[in-house]
């Protein structure tokens, strides 16, 4: 134990005596926090430059331009489409919006956005903000259109209801007419034209009279007259019959038409009733609800905060990653290049004591940096953190820091010069960073690679820290991550030990 303390004391003294190293250790995290704090202590985007172009701005396109213009977006009207697109390439614009000429609701033209997709994270944030602004305008227009549509529908309904009674009365009067017509037809049918003519009887009587009277001349005129009357009578009866028959036929046609009209008017009445019922059955008449029938609200699972709070776990892991890798590898390389390295080997001190001494020294310095970061973060930004969360987060940070420090030590033992060790540390850091969620979500990786990448200590540590710092969960929620980190530490300790043994051979070959 005494040897371990002496090694740690020696390492710290060596670090402090190198002024530049001491400054980096103490001021590095402060500078980092200052810069990141200034940059991310907000939830907004700043100074997003949006270019717009249209060969002919309409009222709608102008209103969208006005809608975009606020403290986050600087909107510039560009006089040329090609120039607008080129300005993205030169970095003068973030988005170029091309409005179709005379954009109106009557046309199907599209608004086109040009973006630089190489700025993957950024482009989706901008598109999201712009889309939400345009969606607001689109909803306004939609509301106006729907409102007008609804009002027309209501008017039609009212008018149909109004006219529905007329149709009913029309239908009734047609029925009455049909009934009267039936009566007429019946009356006509009842005209009996089959009366037996009594002219035979008249002639018989006349004959008897003539016989009685034997004055046939006297009755001849009468007989002629009667014949004439009989003839007229027959003509009349024929005419009446003919009239009755033709009237009956015409009335039958009228009756059929009337029946059809009655049916039609009943159909119209029924349709009007159905339309009315349909219109009346529409339950939702509120325009806003018709425009957005499903309303959504996105609620954060952690308290709303600034970008700094959200990125704080990532920031901590990032500091640990580079501080751990670089500090540990530099310490080991300096030790190996030191004149005293050989003497350490020939002292009766087990190798594991030197490994632990270097490891604990680096852990101490990295934790010191973290303490500074926490003080700045929670002191200057007046954020709150409970003691238990602080304690839990330091457990994870110590484990994660150990992994990075042991990786750094491994690099220190693997590479012969400080330069190559630094390059190796930065390269390893970049790989771990690139295959994490910081630059691209790991969900964008193929599943086979993702299976491996999910064991990246950067991801494991960040995931555990997010649970503790953002969601205030306890260590039991991060047990899986803790097991992985502990396994890493155990494995790396063995590998570091083996590489220290190998470094003896290197020293011998020198």
């Amino acid at each position: 134990m005494s040897k371990l303390l002496e090694i740690i004391k020696k390492n710290l003294k060596l670090l402090i005596r190198s002024r530049s190293s001491a400054l980096i250790v103490l001021l590095g995290p402060l500078a980092l926090m200052l810069l990141i704090g200034l940059a991310f202590n907000t939830s907004s985007l700043f100074d997003i430059k949006v270019g717009t172009y249209s060969s002919s701005y309409s009222e709608i396109s102008d209103s969208i331009v006005v809608k975009l213009q606020d403290e986050q977006f600087k909107v510039m009207k560009i006089d040329n489409e090609e120039r607008c697109i080129n300005m993205i390439k030169t970095g003068d614009l973030h988005v170029c919006t091309i409005f179709p000429p005379d954009l109106s609701l009557k046309t199907n033209d599209k608004i086109v956005f040009y973006v630089d997709k190489s700025r993957i994270n950024f482009v989706y944030i901008i598109l999201d903000r712009i889309s939400s602004k345009i969606a607001t305008k689109s909803a306004e227009l939609s509301t106006a259109l729907t409102s007008r549509l609804l009002s027309s529908l209501n008017n039609a309904n009212a008018k149909l209801t109004d006219k529905s009674s007329s149709i009913v009365s029309l239908s009734a009067s047609l029925s009455e007419s049909k009934s009267s017509l039936n009566d007429i037809v019946n009356d006509l049918d009842e005209i009996n034209l089959n009366v037996t003519s009594n002219f035979t009887q008249v002639h018989d009587e006349l004959k008897q009279l003539k016989q009685k009277d034997n004055s046939s001349s006297k009755y001849a005129d009468l007989e002629d007259l009667i014949d004439a009357v009989e003839s007229d009578y027959d003509i009349l009866v024929g005419s009446v019959r003919s009239f009755r028959d033709s009237s009956s036929s015409s009335l039958g046609g009228i009756k059929t038409k009337l029946s059809e009209n009655i049916q039609s008017s009943k159909d119209v009445e029924k349709t009007i009733k159905e339309i009315n019922n349909d219109i009346n059955s529409i339950e939702i008449r509120d325009v806003a609800r018709i425009v957005s029938p499903v309303t959504t609200e996105i609620k954060p699972i952690a308290a709303e905060s600034t970008n700094l709070n959200y990125t704080f776990p990532t920031l901590l892991v990032l500091v640990l990653l580079f501080a751990g890798l670089l500090l540990a590898s530099t310490t080991i390389v300096q030790e190996r290049e030191s004149k005293a390295y050989f003497r350490n080997f020939i002292t009766p001190t087990p190798d594991i004591i030197f490994i632990l001494g270097n490891y604990v020294s680096s852990v101490f310095i990295v934790l010191l940096q973290l303490v500074i970061i926490f003080i700045v973060m929670f002191g200057v930004t007046s954020s709150n953190i409970s003691d238990i969360t602080l304690l839990n987060s330091f457990v994870i940070l110590a484990l994660l820091g150990s992994v990075f420090i042991l990786l750094g030590m491994l690099i220190g033992y693997m590479f012969k010069s400080g330069e190559t060790a630094n390059i190796a540390s930065v390269s390893l850091g970049a790989i771990l960073l690139f295959f994490s969620n910081t630059i691209l979500p790991i969900e964008t990786l193929p599943s086979s690679i993702r299976q491996i990448v999910q064991f990246n200590p950067y991801i494991v540590g960040e995931s555990a820290l997010r649970k503790i710092l953002l969601f205030n969960q306890d260590l039991s929620a991060a047990l899986q991550q803790i097991y992985i980190l502990v396994a890493y530490i155990a494995g790396l300790l063995i590998v570091v030990y083996l590489f220290r043994e190998f470094s003896k051979k290197w020293l011998t070959n020198q």
Binding site: K339, A340, R343, F345, P348
Partner: protein, 329 residues
Amino acid sequence: MAEQPFIQFENITKTFGKKVILDNLSLGIPYKDIFGVIGKSGSGKTTLLCILVGFLKPDKGQVLFQSRDINKDLQSVQQQFGFAAQEGSFYPKLTVEENLWYFGKMYNINSNILKEKIVELLRLVDLEDSHDLIAWKLSSGMQKRLDIACALVHDPKVLILDEPTEDLDPALRNEVLDLLKKINREKDITIIITSHLLDEVEYVCKEVAILDQKKVIDSGNINELKNKYAKYSEVSLELEDRDYTHIIKRLKHKKDVKKYSIRGNKIYIYTTQKNEKALKEILSLTKKNKSKVISISMGKPSLTELFEELTKKEEVKNVKVTGDNKKES
């Protein structure tokens, strides 16, 4: 039964890859002497010392320290050895005292004892006034003394120094060599040094081992080795003008002069003549040329001469062996 040496290398073989560095080497080092291991660069001197302190393990053979195999109880044996490497082995950004404290602790020394030990060592290596100076600010001589102090902090029974005077100017070399003599005198300690600067080895060591061709050619007391191998008398001459051209001209015609060499300010002449006759002839040469003699001495050849003679022999022997092998094959 012969007394077992303090340190005994037994049939040590060490290879790095396919390169054989030490081949079946055996050597005994006596107690409480300053023992020199001499050899050309790359002859395996440093490897031998690294095996001795347990930093390297031999492929074959064993090293016995006080009749114990060092690799069987390495940690306790390491406690008995102090090592000062050629380039120094301390932390340049720690002070003199902090370096001593740190290495004392690495050797499990109790804090109270260590405090006293540091005071004593600072006095011994004459760094009392520089105890709080950062090590890299010390002069190279002071750094060498600090390195030796670091090697002595745990009171070892054996102090091993690899090329201790390498990269030092002559004045500092003498300072270090005198310090070694002082340490050997004041402390109950065996000192082993390696060097290719044989005059210095001869200055401080009583016994040497000569390493060549991956093994020890011979070892023992320097004078005994000289008696064993010396064929010529050595005359060393220093003239005021240091112009030896006229003497060399004359020497070329003399059959009894086997060779000569100029080292430093002196000319060394090796002759088969008896001492007195050789001396008279050389003095008469200087008189003829009216050269002023600063010093003249004669005796057995130096360690350097002995080493050159012995390693040349070994080379010839090896060439012959190789030639024979070729014939056989």
